[in-house]
């Protein structure tokens, strides 16, 4: 486009506030946090003396943080699995030329509009197990009423951690091949995390459904018809044609849901708190706790930097890939 010189200056001036704000509030602040994570600022009085990586060393040796990492990894894997499977199933069913499609879509999608705080408050009420003296409550009571009482359990109040028992056959075998560390509670899933995943997937699976539905609608019917004419079974069409074509959508969904789940904080605050023995604690919760309640700013910054690195590992390749594929268009 023909551009006059003063207008080019104006264009840059119009963009300047946003660029400046991003430079300070995103990049500058990240730099500051990184600096604090290397400092001695462990109480209310700022102390910027550099101490190298010792805050990180102590953090990774901290048992609470180790449990947090286990919880984040198990939460992310379960959450992704549930959202992708349920989201795809719902999208596939809705794509079968059904009646009242709009109503079903809206029902599956509406939890997205609600805050994690509301979700947490409601799901805490739903999954409060009750007690033997007072009787069952919430979902447990519902199970009792429909004759599925054996499904009752403690949900997020149960401190159990499922893992491979070290004295089991599998545990013994792992021990022999030098992978004994896999059979420990540090590689496992806590019951509380499962409860959190249920609530989070209730909120976010509709989003995956919407993405997959848009993808399915983009696959032409001629393609499926052609495959049928060539004698492909419905299963073959699904696994050989539809799922491979939806791979970019699965990738996007993994990136988006993955970075949400690494950062999950609000839901934990409203629904469970850190839990018994930190069974539902996550790094984001530990960070807020240690920084703004415990005034250990150096440790809080170190956790924040670890979080940032985890998210960046997920996001940066995706950002580069998506801007490059945009340039090719």
């Amino acid at each position: 486009m023909r551009q006059i010189k003063w207008e080019r200056v104006v264009a840059i001036l119009l963009l300047a506030p946003s660029v400046l704000a991003t430079a300070i509030f995103v990049y500058g602040f990240i730099g500051f946090t990184g600096y604090v994570s290397l400092s001695k600022w462990t109480n209310l009085l700022p102390d910027f003396t550099l101490v190298g990586l010792s805050n990180y060393q102590r953090l990774f040796a901290n048992q609470r943080f180790q449990i947090d990492l286990r919880n984040t990894v198990s939460f992310t894997l379960l959450f992704l699995l549930l959202c992708l499977v349920v989201g795809f199933l719902l999208a596939f069913l809705i794509d079968q030329r059904i009646r009242a499609e709009g109503i079903f879509r809206s029902i599956y999608l509406f939890p997205m509009a609600i805050s994690f705080i509301v979700t947490g408050v409601v799901w805490r009420w739903l999954l409060t197990p009750g007690s033997p003296e007072m009787g069952a409550t919430g979902v447990n009571l519902l199970f009792e009423k429909v004759g599925l009482g054996f499904l009752k359990w403690g949900w997020f109040t149960d401190p159990v951690v499922w893992h491979i028992p070290p004295d089991s056959a599998v545990g013994q075998f792992l021990e022999q091949i030098g992978l004994g560390f896999l059979a420990s509670p540090m590689i496992g899933i806590s019951a509380g995390v499962v409860a959190l995943v249920l609530a989070a997937a209730w909120q976010m699976s509709g989003y995956t459904m919407a993405m997959y539905l848009a993808g399915l609608r983009g696959i032409s019917d001629e393609l499926r018809e052609a495959a049928r004419v060539d004698g492909a079974s419905e299963l073959q069409i699904m696994f050989r044609i539809i799922l491979p074509l939806l791979r970019p959508i699965t990738l996007s969904a993994i990136i988006i849901l993955g970075h949400i789940s690494l950062k999950i904080y609000d839901l934990v605050v409203a629904m469970t708190g850190p839990g018994i023995g930190f069974s539902t604690d996550v790094p984001a919760y530990f960070m807020w706790d240690t920084t703004f309640r415990g005034n250990n700013f150096a440790r809080g910054s170190a956790i924040a930097v670890v979080l940032l690195v985890m998210v960046a590992v997920l996001i940066v390749p995706y950002l580069v890939w998506s801007t490059r594929s945009e340039a090719e268009l």
């Binding site: 486009m1 023909r2 207008e7 080019r8 104006v10 264009a11 946003s18 660029v19 991003t22 509030f25 995103v26 602040f29 990240i30 500051f32 946090t33 719902l90 069913l93 079968q96 030329r97 059904i98 499609e101 709009g102 079903f104 809206s106 029902i107 599956y108 509406f110 997205m112 509009a113 609600i114 805050s115 509301v118 979700t119 408050v121 409601v122 799901w123 009420w125 739903l126 007072m134 409550t137 009571l141 848009a214 609608r217 988006i256 950062k263 904080y265 609000d266 605050v269 409203a270 984001a284 807020w288 920084t291 703004f292 700013f297 809080g300 924040a304 940032l308 960046a312 950002l319 998506s322």
Partner: protein, 299 residues
């Protein structure tokens, strides 16, 4: 997009009746499961105080009672807790100006980055985008420090609603810029060129060509921003420590964390906190979908 394309599909393949039945049964079972929390929310909120007991928590209320809503809104002096009414209004005063401001800012950024490209504009855009993925924990500590140093009417921006507006506008830059840039990129440059030949300046092109065309873009961005600002908890709980300025998410979390507040009051409060964004979703659902897919880069 939906009903039309499904009709166009044309039902040529025969599907046995039992499979259709199974299909609908599955869809309905999922729908019921998704609606269970809402059912519980509504019936518990509508029960009177005498009806609330753990044994009957799944039963319908005897009638429609608004006691819990009044108590959740106004609070209770005897029991010593503040209602959510003030927090609700704080959220309104926060979300509306912050939404409008960040939409305007995003629109200008999107205009420059799509129609006034300069060398390095694309790189700058990618650098701007990064801000929407970062875990905000990585900027909270300096943010609190800076907010308490920016002067504001004799005090500072920390723990004020304008302070929160400021924060949401800044961290809204990436997503609003992204949506507007993509929106304006789809508007033909010939249109802009034509008005340039007619003598329109950089402001004229925006004022008379792009802005009038961008109403749908504004709707999408404003729905997105309103929803995320209304639902935000992390910034609110970090930047505001005074109950008089805290938004509804923080108020609700405090209410729910208190052991003296009955379940039906908590549920009524949760319903109040969810209502504005749910209404937006019900009334403008189509745009909400479009916003979701446009912002599918973001979570």
């Amino acid at each position: 997009m939906t009903s039309q394309s499904s009709e166009m599909r044309g039902g040529t393949t025969y599907v046995p009746r039992w499979r259709r039945a199974l299909l609908y049964l599955t869809l309905i079972a999922f729908a019921v499961a998704y609606l269970i929390p809402v059912y519980l929310l509504i019936i518990t909120g509508m029960k009177s105080f005498t009806e609330v007991s753990l044994q009957t928590m799944w039963d319908l209320p005897s009638g429609i009672h608004f006691d819990s809503f009044t108590k959740a809104w106004f609070g209770s002096k005897q029991e010593g807790f503040q209602g959510l009414g003030g927090n609700f209004l704080n959220s309104v005063y926060l979300a509306i100006p912050a939404t409008i401001l960040s939409a305007l800012l995003g629109s200008i950024n999107g205009y420059i980055l799509s129609k006034w490209k300069f060398r390095g504009a694309d790189l700058l855009f990618t650098l701007l985008l990064f801000g929407m993925f970062i875990p905000y924990q990585s900027i909270l500590i300096p943010l609190v420090q800076v907010m308490s140093r920016i002067p504001w009417f004799g005090g500072n921006l920390y723990s004020t609603i304008p302070g929160l507006i400021f924060v949401h506008v800044i961290y809204g830059i990436p997503i609003t810029t992204l949506i507007f840039r993509n929106y304006y990129a789809a508007i033909p440059t010939e249109l802009v060129e034509a008005s340039r030949i007619d003598g329109a300046s950089i402001f004229g092109v925006y004022r008379y060509i792009l802005f009038p065309l961008s109403i749908p873009g504004f709707v999408v961005v404003m729905i997105w921003q309103f929803t995320s600002i209304w639902n935000d908890f992390l910034f609110a709980v970090t930047i505001t420590n005074n109950p008089d300025v805290q938004p509804i998410t923080v108020g609700l979390n405090n209410l729910a964390g208190s052991y003296i507040v009955e379940w039906n009051v908590q549920m009524a409060g949760a319903l109040m906190a969810a209502l504005p964004t749910l209404l937006v979703y019900i009334v403008l659902g189509r745009f909400f979908m479009r916003g979701l897919l446009a912002g599918s880069l973001k979570g």
